[in-house]
Amino acid sequence: MFLTESAAPFIREGRMIMNDKILSAKKKEAQRLGIFLILAFSLAWVYFILTIPKGSTWDQMTPQFQSLASLGMLTPVIAHVLTRLFTKEGFALTGEDSMMLGIRFQKSGWAWYLLAMLLPWFYQELANGIALLICPELYDPEYYKVLGIDQKMLLLLPVSSIVSGTILSFAAFGEEGGWRGYMMPKLMKLMGRKEAFFTGGIIWGLWHAPLTCIGHNFGTDYPGFPYLGIFKMCTLCIFLGMLLTYMTEKSGSVWPAAILHAVNNTSPGILNGYINYEKVSGLRGNVAGFIGIIVSLLLVLTIFWRLERRRRRVGIHS
C-alpha cells in the first residue's frame, strides 16, 4: 500500500508522458498520411483531366486513349515515393514501416502468389452465377459474339487473363504500392482495423471518382448516375480492399495484392461472355451484378477469417 501510494504520482506522470508520446506519434502518422493523400489525389486527378478528352465518356474514348488514361493508376505509388522523400521515412523494402516490396517464396510464401492469380477467377465466376440466379434475364447465349470474342477464345479467357494480368501487373502495382504499401498501414496505426478498412475503401473509391463520372466502372446509363456509381465503387473498394490488405499482411508484400488487382481488372470470368446487362432495363440488372460481386467477396473473406481463427486456436492449444 505504501509503495502504491508513493509511486502513484510517478505512475500518473509516466502514463501522461506515454500518452503524449502516443499522441505525438499518431499526429506524425496522420500528417504523413495527409501528405500522401494530397499527392495521390492531385497527381491522379490532374492526369485524368489532362488525358480524358473534354466532354467524352469512357465508351466514346478510343481504346488507345483508354489505355493512356489507365496509366494514371501509377500515381499512388509515385505519391508514396514522393511522400517518403518529403517525410524522410526512408525506403526500406521489407520489414516494419517499409514499402513492402519484398518477395518471399519460402515457407509457403509462394501460395499467396498462386492464390492471387486464381482467386479473381473464382469470385468473379461466383459473382456472375449469383447475378444470374437473382436476374436470369441477364443471360444472353450469344453475347460473346457482340463482344467480338470467338467461343474458343472465351474458354481460354481465364488462363489468358491470369497470364497477362500477372505479367502486366505494373499498373496494378502502381495502385497497390500506394494503397496497401502506404495508406493501409498508416490507417491501421491511426484507428482500429474495421475503421481502417472502411476509411481506406472510401478513400480508394473516391479516388476513382473522375473515372466513375465518365462511365469507366459502371457505364453512364443507370439511375442516379454518377452518385450511385461512386457509392457502388466505394462499397466495392471496401470489400476488395479488405481482401487485398489481408493478402498483403499475410505475405508481407504488396506483390500478391498487385497481381490479384491486375487479374481482377482483366475480368477472367467465362460467364462474362454470356451476361448482357443491357438486356435488363432499370436498376435490376446492375443491382444483381453488384450483389453478386459483394456476396462472393464476402464469402472469400469469411473463408479466410475462419481459417485464420482456426489457425490461432491451434496455435494457442499447441
Binding site: T62, Q64, S67, T94, G102, K152, S160, S164
Partner: protein
C-alpha cells in the same frame, strides 16, 4: 536477398542503365506529345503502295517502340550473362562458403534479379506502346505498332529461355568455355543463313512485307493467343528448372563442412 539483389544491380551498372532508360522515356514522351498525330501538317504525310496515308513522324516514333522492344530483349540476354560471368563455381567457391547464407540463396538472387529486370523492361515497353498508340491517327501506324504487342510476350519468353540455358552454362563451364560455345552456335546459325542465300530460295523473302505479316497474324489469331499464354508459362518453368540445375552444379564438387 535484398543486399544480394543490390549487389547484382551495382555489378551490372544498374544506375547507368536506369538513368539511360529514364532519359530516353522522358524524351520519347515529350516528342510523342509534341509531335502528336493530329497536329502534324500535310507535309508529314505520304501515301503507301496500298493508297493509305501514313504519317512519317508517327512511323519514326512507332519504330522507336519496336527498337525499345528489341533492345530490351538484348538487354535481358546481356544482363543474364553479366550476372554470372564472374561467378563460375571454381572462382568463387571460397567466397560463397564465407557468406552467412546458403549457396542456393546466392544463386537465387541472380535468377530473381534477371526476372525483375525482364519484368521492368516489359512494363516499360508497354508504357511506351500505350503512350505512342494514344497519339497515332492513321490506321497503318496503329497496325504497325500493334504488331509489336503480338511479339512482346513470345520475345520476352524467348529471352528468359535463353537465359535459362546460358546461366547454368556460364556457372558450370566458366566464362571462357561458355562464350566459345555461344560463338560456335552463332557461327552455326550464320553458316545456315549463308547456305540459304547461296543454295536456297531467297525469293521467299521478297514476299514478306508488313501487310503479309499482318494478314498472317490475323489468320492465326487463336494460335498466337495460345502461344502468348503458353510461352511465358513454359519459359518460367524452364527458368526454375535452370535454377535447380545451377544449384545442383554448385552442390556437386563442393566440399561441404557444415
Amino acid at each position: 536477398m535484398g543486399g544480394l539483389l543490390y549487389k547484382e544491380f551495382v555489378a551490372v551498372r544498374g544506375k547507368r542503365i536506369v538513368n539511360t532508360i529514364g532519359i530516353a522515356t522522358l524524351l520519347f514522351i515529350l516528342l510523342r506529345v509534341y509531335f502528336s498525330g493530329d497536329r502534324m501538317m500535310e507535309d508529314f504525310y505520304m501515301e503507301n503502295v496500298d493508297g493509305d496515308l501514313v504519317n512519317l513522324v508517327d512511323l519514326i516514333l512507332s519504330q522507336a517502340v519496336w527498337w525499345f522492344l528489341i533492345m530490351s530483349l538484348y538487354a535481358v540476354n546481356r544482363l543474364g550473362i553479366e550476372c554470372v560471368r564472374s561467378d563460375d563455381k571454381n572462382k568463387i567457391r571460397g567466397y560463397i562458403a564465407a557468406l552467412p547464407l546458403e549457396k542456393n540463396t546466392y544463386l537465387a538472387s541472380k535468377y530473381v534479379f534477371l526476372g525483375i529486370a525482364a519484368y521492368v523492361l516489359l512494363s516499360m515497353f508497354f508504357m511506351w506502346e500505350i503512350v505512342c498508340a494514344a497519339f497515332i491517327h492513321d490506321s497503318f501506324n496503329q497496325d504497325f505498332l500493334q504488331l509489336s504487342l503480338v511479339f512482346a510476350f513470345p520475345g520476352f519468353s524467348m529471352a528468359i529461355l535463353l537465359a535459362a540455358v546460358e546461366m547454368p552454362m556460364f556457372l558450370l563451364l566458366g566464362e571462357g568455355v561458355a562464350a566459345m560455345i555461344k560463338v560456335g552456335v552463332g557461327l552455326g546459325i550464320a553458316l545456315l543463313v549463308i547456305y540459304f542465300f547461296l543454295f536456297g530460295n531467297p525469293e521467299i523473302l521478297e514476299r514478306i512485307d508488313f501487310m503479309s505479316i499482318q494478314n498472317w497474324v490475323n489468320a492465326h489469331e487463336f494460335g498466337l493467343t495460345l502461344v502468348g499464354i503458353l510461352s511465358p508459362m513454359i519459359s518460367l518453368a524452364c527458368y526454375y528448372v535452370s535454377y535447380r540445375i545451377s544449384c545442383a552444379f554448385y552442390q556437386g564438387g563442393e566440399n561441404d563442412y557444415e
